[in-house]
């Protein structure tokens, strides 16, 4: 694939807009929100990143890369016009049919917003098919919020309730969002379990506290969806790395309900 555009999101996150060189693949490639791809910088290796764009956007893909590994580092050094390798999509993706007609509560922090962004834009393209959409998104510091431009756009829409927050000490002059950790802010806003599904992505520690909070607010584990952070190599259920219990996260996940996760060995 060729890099068509690069957006600097935060000091360590860049979004790459990518185009398949083969016209046939460009036309027929399809995926679901919540799926991931395997991206190669030849010579440096291959890494796993979510497909950050909406499946409804045609002609290109986007991936947002945090500079946190050797391959990500190499990615950040690339420029417009450079080529990368891609295989995918892999994984199950979010269960859109189940979400249709429901109120959606999306809770994320940091780079965890990436799969949610794909889902959000996907849902906004069929806005009338969903109930209320609430987004709670936080980061350590204001500078670490990914997709700032889109956050402003979502905030200005009347059909989305967006709550932004930064960790205590991460605020700066002019910050008009909230201050506090995501799981705490979650308890301050009125979240109603009725007809609602929660989708939460972020670091495992955040997910842990968010889910504990949701359960105490009366949300059912069957309606809490999360993505599992597990190192993924082959994406094909062979290399063994993302094995948890009888599952391979790359094939059976990365999207699981909390009810499913409850059945797994307690490795998180």
């Amino acid at each position: 694939m060729a890099i068509e555009d690069i957006i600097v999101e935060t000091p360590d996150v860049k979004t790459f807009r990518l185009i398949f060189q083969e016209r046939k693949i460009r036309r027929h490639f399809s995926f679901k929100a919540g799926q991931f791809g395997k991206y190669s910088v030849f010579g440096e290796g291959e890494s796993t990143f979510y497909l950050a764009s909406s499946p409804t956007w045609e002609g290109y893909l986007e991936c947002s890369v945090r500079r946190a590994s050797k391959v990500a580092e190499a990615f950040h050094k690339l420029g417009v016009g450079d080529r990368i390798g891609f295989r995918g999509p892999y994984g199950n993706g979010f269960p859109l049919p189940e979400l249709t007609g429901k109120n959606l509560i999306l809770i994320g922090s940091g780079i965890g917003i990436v799969p949610l962004r794909s889902l959000i834009w996907n849902c906004l393209d069929f806005r009338e098919s969903f109930g209320k959409i609430t987004i709670l998104y936080g980061a350590e510091r204001v500078a670490d919020l990914v997709y700032k431009r889109e956050l402003r756009e979502w905030e200005s829409r009347r059909d989305i309730n967006l709550i932004r927050t930064v960790d205590p000490g991460g605020e700066e002059p002019g910050w008009d969002g909230r201050v506090g950790f995501v799981p705490m802010i979650m308890r301050e806003i009125d979240l109603l379990p009725e007809k609602s599904w929660v989708i939460t992505c972020g670091p495992p520690v955040m997910i842990k506290f968010v889910i504990e909070g949701l359960i105490s607010l009366g949300f059912s584990p069957e309606r809490i969806i999360t993505t599992l952070e597990m190192k993924i190599r082959c994406g094909l259920g062979k290399c063994g790395r993302c094995n948890i219990g009888k599952h391979y996260v790359c094939q059976d996940g990365p999207v699981f309900t909390y009810a499913q996760i409850g059945e797994f060995p307690n490795e998180f």
Binding site: F42, S69, R83, E229, K231, C239, R241, K246
Partner: protein, 349 residues
């Protein structure tokens, strides 16, 4: 299944012919350990009494296998097939445990998505096995349900009758094809009963109390004991070297790595698949998260995967009782000891 006989002399002649067409891999006694190796003459074959120190796994899942080459000149990237040799191949002298291990790997690499690299090597290889008549000191195949004299999962089985003749069981369609091509080297087994009874008299395959455990009890125990002091106790001296995984004929976990150089104005290299192990800390380490930060958790993963997860996913164990992990663990961790203790501990309830 068809049964034939072949004399040692005919086998030698057959091998001479085969070596002109096939790559032949057989057990060879090295200076330190016995292993499967490519041979160039019948005389090189080792015929050890029990299984080799190294399994034939490396001929189907090479320790470092080139997947594709890449070449970048300016902004153009060219991908090409590596120069892997996938010619017809015979692997000779495979034991029933290692043949069973191949069947386990076949499921992993062909179910839910076919791995072309593994299947290419598998499809091009004729597996000629041999039975075991005596267990090696670390063997425990019968404890995990494997019959050491069965031809299961082989294409052909050769049994040395120790009278300069071999009994030949032609097991699979692939074996039939091979036989029909070379049938003139073989004879009808006229005095089969006498030859076999001489063999069976020798067969003493009792493993002893200290290698006995109950797989059902172990599975049930694993289902309920993700948390148990046994993991920490047993793994206390594990140094995470991964030798057990590398020697195991069913361990198939791998990683990818790129090897590259800059030459002739272009950046070129090879993406390789290399063996990996759940015993290594980097196996699950991500930039932000480590689900298995200690050696006892990694040890637990290994046992759980072999005796529970693999069973839950594929309805098969991922252990064939070859005993290599116990004979060559540098700190003497003994899988059988662990399984026996689980089995006995549970019986007390």
């Amino acid at each position: 299944m068809t049964t034939k006989l072949i004399t040692r002399n005919s086998l030698k002649k057959l091998m001479r012919d085969l070596l002109t067409v096939f790559e032949i891999v057989a057990p060879v006694q090295g200076e330190a350990v016995s292993a499967f190796q490519r041979i160039s003459a019948y005389e090189e074959i080792g015929w050890p009494d029990s299984n080799t120190a190294r399994s034939p796994k490396e001929f189907f899942l090479p320790p470092a296998d080139g997947l594709f080459r890449f070449q970048q000149t300016g902004r153009e990237t060219l991908l090409s097939e590596p120069a892997n040799h996938h010619g017809p191949r015979i692997i000779l002298g495979v034991r029933p445990c290692d043949a069973a291990a191949l069947a386990i790997m076949d499921r992993v690499f062909s179910e839910k998505g076919i791995d072309v690299h593994y299947t290419a090597l598998r499809d091009n290889t004729l597996v000629i096995g041999q039975p075991c008549w005596k267990p090696g000191k670390d063997c425990f195949c019968t404890s995990v349900g494997i019959n050491p004299t069965a031809s299961l999962n082989m294409d052909i089985m050769l049994t040395d009758l120790r009278d300069e003749r071999f009994l030949v069981d032609i097991v699979s369609p692939k074996g039939e094809d091979f036989f029909s091509y070379f049938s003139h080297f073989f004879q009808e087994p006229e005095d089969l009963p006498r030859a076999l009874s001489a063999q069976t008299r020798e067969m003493v395959f009792y493993l002893g109390e200290d290698k006995m455990f109950d797989l059902r009890v172990i599975k049930k125990w694993l289902d309920n004991n993700f948390e148990n002091p046994l993991w920490t106790k047993t793994a206390a001296r594990c140094i995470g070297c991964g030798a057990c995984s590398f020697l195991c004929p069913t361990c198939h976990c791998f990683d990818f790595t790129d090897e590259s150089t800059y030459q002739d104005n272009s950046f070129q290299g090879l993406r390789k698949r290399v063996w990996d192990s759940c015993s290594f800390s980097h196996f699950t380490q991500t930039p932000t998260h480590q689900p298995r930060p200690t050696q006892d958790r990694r040890f637990r993963q290994r046992i759980m995967h072999k005796f529970k997860y693999s069973f839950d996913r594929y309805q098969q164990l991922a252990c064939v009782g070859c005993g290599r992990c116990r004979s060559l663990c540098p700190v003497g961790i003994d899988l059988v000891e662990v399984l026996v203790s689980i089995s006995r501990q549970s019986h007390q309830f």
